[in-house]
């Protein structure tokens, strides 16, 4: 066992397991001692792989992708690079029998991150519990440093094939090509291939399918302009590719939602396992993985695609980048005195003595904890009967316990919150908009709060209506530090928060004690330096009152916005009905008047129609039932409303629908103040400015009504790159659309500086 593992509180469970394992019945202490020996962590893992998410072939495939993607995102962000990640799953046994439950796959994840210096490659990929993230209190995706090497080990165990790594840390130098297999006994990697290559990103990937060829030709797939540095990891493993809940597809979809700054490309295998689950993902009604053979997009009718939403080309799924800003960089913090446990305190005291012999308690408290001032450090020393000159080495167990109690009872300010990076309301909206096809989106981001001395922050978003199924329980999607949580939903604090929120207040149906029913996707995100998971597999957030309360407040904020929107929608419907009634009678009235006076009825008809339009627009918008001025829900913060004119046209009279048929499908995007993002962002945006923008959200637009509006803003270069399509809509920023209450149409609002 490494030192790191021994110091690791998480490793406690490993230690325990070791004892139970080595317990042999009916043996003497001597015979037992003869058999007792060190177990390598790798060996331990090989036997207990379920603890880390490799319990079955399907989950193993997912976990492999997940660990690699998490690492890539963390690396890119830390280096200040907008992540561009390509996930490729190749089926290595496409000719297997139909009855085969699993197959051999090669999972490759390529990123445009900073790359890895040669000498660290073995450590990062070949050792368990080796990483930069465990030893600090900093918000990041991975925490233990088990992930990618565990995946590599799983691959090795199931297929005997080494991990293949291409990494390019410098733009103008060749990439390293390394193949390594892990020695489970020594917890060290054995390198089987080590060479330099110019093949990065590996060209082989471009010729995998018609989709990759097509996108590659357009420079939209693994372009060398984008992947100037980066890392590519390939792992062969026994797995099972199957769509539905808990699938790679779902994981990537959700990751794209919570990481709108990332561009994620996914090339799924050509063959899907039998007994496909029929659980719909978020993009309902739009199959995301048609077989590659059918993916000849030339003959296909282009489906209406909006920019910035997930698209599919020849079987390749592209989650485009929705925001061009990296999340703010987070600071590392020291633990807050109220957030530690006695064991950790003892450990810290011990480490402090090793780190700096003669360390005083007074200095130790100030240096190793957040929010401990010199004054409060002095008070702590005094309270336990010591002085400011007492050395940490002189603190015995009893005194430490006393100190621990004092720390717990202290009235210190809450920990600093600049260690947290919210996704941000605007980014949440864009993420949801790209991944979920709905008609209404709302998001909220709470202020930071504290549980057990650890700062955390809750964000929520909801999507409503559109293509979402209306008669099913709402879909709850959960995230912790931007990582989707796919399993153990009902054990999760966020799921409880959703169930406990009273959605009936917002005109939604909700069975008692359950999630609401309706065309709804509810997203909850917890950002924290230490997310309290219920187990090592990191699948559910533990149920702390403070956390659940914040979650409920975030949900209520979104709920209120939705309620307001639903109210407005109802008003619009009523308005349409009212207009309908008037317009129905107008023809009769004009005719009757014409017959009486003997004059042409047409001028009267037109005058009546004009008045009807005017009046129905004014009457309902001015006041609601209580006579209050109605608030336009789209005027609220943190809301996107997409309205299909066709919805309204259904309700309108024949006379009115003629006009409405001409109305276009449009989106209105609410202005959001940029002060969502604190100043931290500034320096990273400078760096970003230097990055090539070539990969920014390409999207095809076929008969999409929207494109006609946008064509004016599309750069000529883009227009020429898309073939066979009437009008491309590839502008990164959508124009702001506003629902005109008078005409029921959507209009473009020229307001600069929205996104």
């Amino acid at each position: 066992m490494t030192d790191a593992a021994l110091l690791d509180p998480e490793a406690g469970s490993i230690e325990q397991t070791k004892k139970t394992m080595s317990k042999a019945p009916r043996a003497t202490a001597e015979s037992m001692a003869a058999r007792q020996r060190d177990i390598s962590v790798s060996e331990f893992f090989a036997k207990n792989r379920h603890l880390l998410g490799f319990d079955n072939p399907r989950k193993a495939l997912l976990t492999t992708v997940k660990e690699a993607v998490d690492n890539s995102l963390d690396a890119c962000e830390e280096a200040g690079i907008l992540p561009d990640i390509t996930v490729i799953i190749e089926d290595l046994q496409p000719d297997r029998g139909r009855e085969a439950k699993q197959s051999r796959y090669r999972v490759s994840v390529v990123d445009n991150g900073p790359g890895i210096v040669r000498k660290q490659v073995e450590n990062i990929f070949g050792r368990l519990l080796y990483g930069s993230k465990f030893h600090r209190l900093k918000m990041s995706r991975g925490q233990q440093g088990i992930g990618i090497s565990a995946a590599g080990m799983y691959g090795l165990i199931t297929t005997g094939k080494p991990m293949v790594i291409h990494t390019k840390p410098k733009a103008n130098q060749p990439a390293h090509h390394i193949e390594l297999a892990m020695n489970t006994k020594t917890n060290r990697a054995e390198v089987t291939e080590d060479s330099e290559t110019k093949d990065f990103p590996p060209e082989r990937f471009l010729n995998l399918t018609s989709g990759t060829r097509e996108l590659g030709a357009k420079g939209e797939f693994l372009s060398q302009d984008v992947y100037v540095t980066g890392t590519s990891v390939s792992i062969e493993l026994e797995g099972r590719y199957q769509k539905g809940r808990g699938s790679v597809d779902e994981f990537l979809e959700l990751t794209a939602i919570a990481n709108p700054h990332a561009r994620i490309t996914f090339v799924p295998p050509s063959k899907v396992s039998e007994e496909e689950e029929d659980v719909p993902l978020l993009k309902r009604g739009k199959p995301t993985a048609a077989s590659i053979e059918a993916g000849d997009s030339q003959g296909e009718a282009p489906k209406p695609v909006q920019p910035e939403v997930t698209t599919e080309t020849g079987g390749v799924i592209l989650h485009p980048r929705a925001v061009e800003e990296l999340p703010p960089e987070t600071k590392e913090i020291m633990p807050h005195p109220r957030g530690i446990e006695l064991g950790i305190l003892l450990q810290m005291l011990k480490e402090a003595e090793i780190e700096k012999p003669g360390y005083t308690l007074y200095n130790f408290l100030q240096d190793k904890f957040s929010r401990v001032s010199s004054a409060s450090a002095g008070q702590f020393c005094e309270k336990i009967g010591k002085t400011s000159r007492t050395k940490v080495a002189d603190i015995d167990h009893a005194t430490a316990e006393k100190l621990f109690k004092e720390l717990q009872d202290s009235k210190l300010p809450p920990p600093p919150t600049d260690c947290l990076a919210p996704i941000g309301v605007q980014q949440l909206l864009k993420g949801m908009f790209k991944g979920v096809r709905a008609e209404f989106y709302a998001a909220s981001s709470r202020e930071a709060a504290v549980y057990r001395g650890r700062p955390f922050l809750i964000e929520s978003a909801i999507a409503f209506g559109g293509e979402l199924p209306g008669d099913e329980p709402a879909r709850v999607i959960r995230f912790a530090n931007r990582v989707p949580l796919l399993f153990q939903q009902s054990a999760c604090s966020s799921f409880r928060a959703v169930s406990e929120t009273n959605w009936r207040n917002y005109d939604l149906q909700q069975p008692r004690g359950a999630v609401p029913v309706g065309a709804l996707v509810i997203m909850l995100h917890m950002a924290s330096v230490w997310v309290p998971f219920t187990s090592e597999s990191k699948e559910a957030i533990a149920d702390y009152d403070e956390i659940r309360k914040e979650m409920k407040l975030a949900l209520m904020e979104c709920g209120r916005k939705l309620g307001s929107y639903l109210n407005k929608r109802l008003k619009m419907r009523r308005e349409a009905e009212r207009r309908d009634i008037f317009e129905r009678y107008i023809g009769e009235i004009a005719k009757a008047c014409g017959e009486i006076t003997g004059e042409d009825a047409k001028p009267l008809y037109e005058a009546l129609l004009k008045q009807a339009r005017k009046r129905t627009a004014v009457a309902d918008l001015k006041l609601d039932e209580e006579g209050r001025k109605l608030e336009d829900p789209a005027d609220q913060e943190g809301v996107i409303v997409v309205e299909q004119a066709a919805n309204l046209a259904n309700l309108a009279s024949p006379a009115a629908s003629a006009a409405k048929a001409a109305a276009e499908v449009d989106a209105r995007v609410k202005k959001l103040e940029d002060d969502e993002q604190p100043g931290l962002l500034k320096d990273s945006s400078d760096k970003k400015a230097a990055k090539p923008k070539g990969a920014s959200s390409p999207a095809k637009a076929g008969k999409d009504q929207k494109s006609s509006k946008q064509v004016e803003t599309v750069p000529a270069k883009k227009a020429s790159t898309s073939k066979n399509e009437p009008a491309p809509a590839a502008k990164p920023a959508k124009p702001k659309m506003r629902l005109n209450p008078k005409t029921g149409k959507l209009e473009r609002v020229d307001e600069p500086g929205l996104f």
Binding site: R578, I581, F582, R584, Y585, I586, G587, E588, I589, A592, C593, E595, I596, T597, E599, P603, L604, A607, L608, Q611, A612, R615, A619, S653, P654, A655
Partner: protein, 379 residues
């Protein structure tokens, strides 16, 4: 519905002039709506209000009169939009009737204007009870009476007695009407009906046909030298107008025999002072001199009636009785306050038929003659 056809071109110059005036009013209505709308103003029709709030009690004349209040009927209001359309549809229908010199029944007009609104499944009118009030609205709006609009109602009510009348040129001897009597038409204006010869000294008006049959079978009108009418419950305009003409032109007293219940009292009130919904026609319809002979609340004891005749007052009856007692034209009448109080004190109603329990002809041979002799009536 049998349609009554007008006699061929018998209309006098006077009638033509009247029709031309009505037509002018209708065209004016449509033109106002049209020009206002085209000028960008709100399309609406001002309709004199036919409600209690706009009904004034003219104490001096002893009749109800309609006030000056009008209510707007705007098109752009969900409550009135359909009525607005219906008003103009009926205006158009009536214009056609007048132009063709035809008349039509209320039901006929309803059918003529009833059709499906273009492009929908909705009917312009769903039932006749939606159509009839619209026609009354038009009467008050245009200031034209029903006959001026060429509309008539069903015949309702009957008459027998010592009188001969001329109806559209035909002499009708009301002494020789058999068991059915002369059916009262809805339009009984002097240009349609003239009184030719009358020996009767008064008119006895009873509430409904069954009672009227009793009196007719017993030849009451012959024995008491009177005219006998009924209005099938609440008397229609034709019946009331004829009673008023008999009262005013022939100076015949009108004596009513109605049930002893709030409904009977209200019928008397309508005959005497006019109704709220037709207050605009009170001067043509109301008979301030009409008298209420019975049945009286005291009659249960006075006539020693059997318990079986009692019909308990419902809550609604009590409410209605109190309302009637509060009408200004009853409020100042001590006799009537006493009568209504008596009814409420009794706690039961009595129909005219109650007298039959004494004897089949008790009411015609004893009750009414005795009361007439005693002049025991309410005024």
């Amino acid at each position: 519905m049998a349609k009554k056809t007008t006699p061929p071109s018998k209309s006098s110059a006077k009638l033509k002039e009247r029709d031309a005036r009505t037509l002018g009013k209708i065209v004016n209505l449509a033109e106002t709506v049209s020009s206002k709308t085209i000028a960008g103003r709100e399309p609406k029709i001002d309709i004199p209000t036919r409600a209690k709030s706009n009904t004034n009690w003219n104490k001096k004349r002893g009749i109800l009169e309609m006030g000056d209040a009008t209510s707007e009927r705007p098109l752009f209001d969900l409550k009135t939009a359909k009525q607005f359309m219906q008003t103009l549809l009926h205006a158009s229908t009536i214009k056609d009737l007048i132009a063709a010199e035809k008349t039509s029944s209320l039901r006929g007009v309803f059918y003529k204007a009833k059709h499906t609104v273009a492009g929908t499944k909705e009917n312009t009118f769903d039932a006749q009870d939606e159509s009839d009030p619209i026609l009354e609205d038009l009467e008050v709006t245009l200031g034209a009476l029903r006959e001026e609009l060429h509309i008539f109602a069903e015949n309702r009510g009957s008459m027998v007695g010592n009188i001969t009348i001329t109806d559209k040129g035909d002499d009708i001897d009301c002494r020789r009407m058999g068991s059915g009597g002369y059916a009262l038409p809805s339009i009984v204006e002097p240009d349609v009906i003239q009184f030719k010869k009358c020996e009767a000294k008064f008119v006895l008006h009873v509430e409904k046909g069954t009672v009227w049959n009793r009196f007719n079978e017993d030849r009451f009108w012959e024995k008491n030298n009177c005219i006998l009418t009924h209005g099938a419950g609440q008397p229609p305009r034709g019946c009331r107008r004829l009673l008023q003409r008999l009262n005013q032109e022939l100076k015949l007293p009108i004596i009513c025999v109605l049930d002893c219940d709030p409904w009977g009292h209200y019928i008397y009130s309508v005959i005497k002072q006019g109704s709220i919904s037709l207050a605009f026609e009170s001067s043509r319809l109301a008979i301030p001199e009409a008298r209420f002979l019975g049945i009286r609340s005291k009659d249960f004891e006075a006539c020693e009636l059997d318990d079986a005749v009692k019909i308990d007052l419902t809550e609604n009856d009590i409410k209605r009785a109190n309302e009637i007692a509060a009408y200004p034209w009853f409020a100042e009448n001590k006799q009537w306050q006493k009568e209504i109080a008596g009814l409420l004190k009794n706690g039961f109603k009595m129909e005219v038929e109650a007298m039959i329990t004494k004897d089949i002809s008790y009411v015609t041979e004893e009750y009414v003659p005795q009361r007439l002799k005693d002049k025991d009536w309410l005024d």
